[in-house]
Amino acid sequence: MKITLKIWRQRDCQSKGEFKEYHLDKVSKDMSFLEMLDTLNIKLIKQGDLPVEFDHDCREGICGQCGVMINGIAHGPLKNTTTCQLHMRSFNDGDTIYVEPFKASAFPIVRDLKVNRSALDHIITSGGYVSVDTGQAPEANSIPVTFEQAEAAFDAAACIGCGACVASCKNSSAALFTSAKISHLAQLPQGDKETSTRVVSMVNQMEEEGFGHCTNTEACEVECPEGISVLNIARMNYEYNRSRLMKK
């Protein structure tokens, strides 16, 4: 199939970016979106041009490294998929595809489609862990966790931290990301002990990184590759309010 691409090219976070048009003739429907970009890059390198920079790693939808706006939607038109798991069969012959980086003040552009998502790492560092003494592995059954509890915690833990929630949010809020981690740990006995302190430091860090507030439009859940539930955000608010009111 023939594809016209309009790709955002930007040298670094200071310079101004713009869409540049590219044409690809022999795109297979079975290529993934990133393979299609690889094809373009090979062509660009052969021509002596600079290739398009984009992030990727596993290419199997689990690492959360990939992620661009495709036709104005985070990870493209197909719901609950990462960019690397999107295939060209989701497009038609002759289509024009717009590709833009995720945009938010907290995600400065590194180059082209590559953005710096360290802000999300800072949120995790501020409290997204369980403080345990290292040593021998504890006996697995010494702390009972019910099947339902484990499943619910895992649903929240499925977040791959790609940043699509921030990109899809009209306020560039990282509420879904932050709340998924808070909710994951709050639902397990090992993590719940520190919920009150964790929620305050993670929410504060989220603010400090310059993310916006949540207005419950729920766009994040719709575009999340993992379908993380917005109810996690409500849980984060609950835990935050409880921690503040109880001064725990």
Partner: protein
């Protein structure tokens, strides 16, 4: 209060004030439904009701809380939208994100501004006029607010203004009521389903209830 930077706390304030205003909407609607009574009866009853409210100390206190709520709610709205603008940075050149959410959830500020402008007009025409204006009295000796209201709604443009404002309020509530509960931390799926249904029904009932009044007065006077 002005100095709270944390947006979760800010949004809680917004939710509480918004819900208080929503609660007031019920009382205000019930009172105003008296306008739908037969004219002679409505005049006396509505005027004495207004007089009663005007003289009651509890109502007076509640009204101060209401003014404060409108103020805080609006200040919060403005503060948060500045913050959001800073968080967004540069906008997308090609943006189709709208597919994932409802238009009214994305335009709460625009709806709020319509409501605010309406409130200014509404206060000036009725509240200010009633409190500080020279009004004729009815046969019971109460200020004749009823006639002021009825005369106002003889004008088509006034009726249209009200309908536009009430629709804006309706959409504001359609998102607002359920959003407020989320903001305050109700995360159980079952309660969320209930709140979603109750919140949306509330918005629809309030909208219909308020729209009936100007329409009824307008067409009643025409015939």
């Amino acid at each position: 209060m002005i100095f709270i930077k944390n947006s979760v706390t800010r949004k809680n304030l917004m939710a509480i004030t918004g819900l208080f205003l929503s609660f007031f909407l019920i009382i205000h609607l019930l009172g105003n439904l008296q306008l739908l009574l037969p004219a002679a009866e409505a005049q006396l009853q509505y005027n004495s009701y207004s007089h009663l409210l005007g003289g009651n100390i509890v109502i007076k206190l509640v009204s101060y809380v209401l003014y404060l709520c409108i103020l805080l709610h609006s200040i919060d709205a403005i503060y948060l939208s500045f913050k959001k603008r800073r968080a967004n940075g540069t906008s997308y050149s090609y943006d189709r994100r709208g597919r994932a959410s409802s238009w009214y959830s994305r335009n709460m500020m625009a709806l709020g501004i319509i409501i605010f402008v309406f409130l200014v007009i509404h206060f000036k025409d009725f509240w200010y006029h009633y409190k500080f204006g020279e009004l004729p009295v009815d046969t019971n000796g109460n200020k004749d607010l009823y006639t002021i209201v009825v005369v106002a709604f003889e004008q088509l443009w006034y009726v249209v203004l009200y309908i536009v404002a009430i629709l804006a309020l309706g959409y504001h509530l359609l998102h607002g009521v359920f959003s407020a509960h989320r903001t305050m931390g109700i995360y159980h799926p079952m309660y969320n389903r209930i709140i979603n249904i109750v919140g949306k029904s509330f918005a629809v009932i309030i909208t219909i209830g308020y729209i009936i009044i100007p329409l009824f007065l307008y067409f009643n006077l025409q015939s």
